[in-house]
Assembly symmetry: C2
Homo-oligomer: 140 residues x 2
DNA sequence: CTAGGAACTAGAGCGAGGTCTAGATCAAGT
DNA sequence: ACTTGATCTAGACCTCGCTCTAGTTCCTAG
């Protein structure tokens, strides 16, 4: 899962924001909340310097968040990774549980989609008929 | 989209909660917020009596909400319906826009799913190998 | 008649997930 | 040296979507 653009030099918070889609605020917020695996390096002047590994982790985070994983779970996952080898089973379990939630979510959404599509169809047909007769009022 | 169980008698708020999956709190909250099409009937004593039409509308609401439509949009839709015939084009537009968001959401989720599946695979394989060598530590 | 459960109202409270502010510092260009 | 813009911290604040509370009233069964 290496970033295609293999960067050796560390990035500033702004650059990371750009690459991950997270705001700089969110990046600091995540860090404060312990969602990062390691502490981010700093320059002499105190600015954050993100490595490629940091960015890869954040990209994973983004995907997990995007698919609805709560920050608390993300934090737990980060803790496990931070803690080092030996807890891979728990990490797997966490991911696996999430994966199932995502599957369920997709299913639910597909169901919604079909209900909505049906309704869109009802209106589209009504309008296509040119409202020839206002006799049928789709109240629902 | 008639409820399979065609009921003539109106239902109490508790019964509607059961049938829609919304809490009684949420039902009152939705009503206050103007998310219902018409005012709900009341008994002499002031209790709400929901008709089959009310319930059908709520079931649609549930699907729209479940798929991420904000309450504000739902409210707008209810207003249009309440306003009566003549604005079907706008209703269609609203639904159509939402439908597209749902499609996009499903796509995004599927992408997330594959990223997660990949990660699950990485851990599963690692564990299956029996951690024969701790040389490879999946830090990401 | 009485007890107990369901419903009523208005409004406060809550959890999640950030976002924004203030005031200060750092760093690069001219 | 000076200006400009990105970053820094800690903490206040915000939106969304309910949920819960308090105090009261309704209604049904015993």
């Amino acid at each position: 899962m290496a970033t295609t653009e293999t960067r050796a030099e560390p990035l500033s918070i702004g650059e990371v924001a750009e690459r991950t889609g997270l705001s700089v605020h969110a990046l600091r917020f995540y860090e404060r909340g312990g969602l990062l695996v390691g502490p981010v390096q700093r320059t002499a002047g105190g600015r954050r310097r993100y490595t490629a590994v940091d960015v890869d982790w954040l990209l994973i985070c983004v995907k997990l968040r995007e698919s609805g994983m709560p920050l608390a779970d993300l934090k737990r996952f980060a803790e496990l990774v931070r803690h080092g080898p030996g807890n891979e089973a728990e990490r797997l379990q966490l991911l696996d549980a999430h994966q199932q939630r995502v599957e369920a979510q997709i299913q639910a959404l597909e169901e919604c989609r079909s209900v909505i599509a049906w309704k869109v169809g009802v209106y589209a047909e009504y309008l296509a008929r040119g409202e020839a007769d206002g006799l049928w009022d789709p109240t629902v």
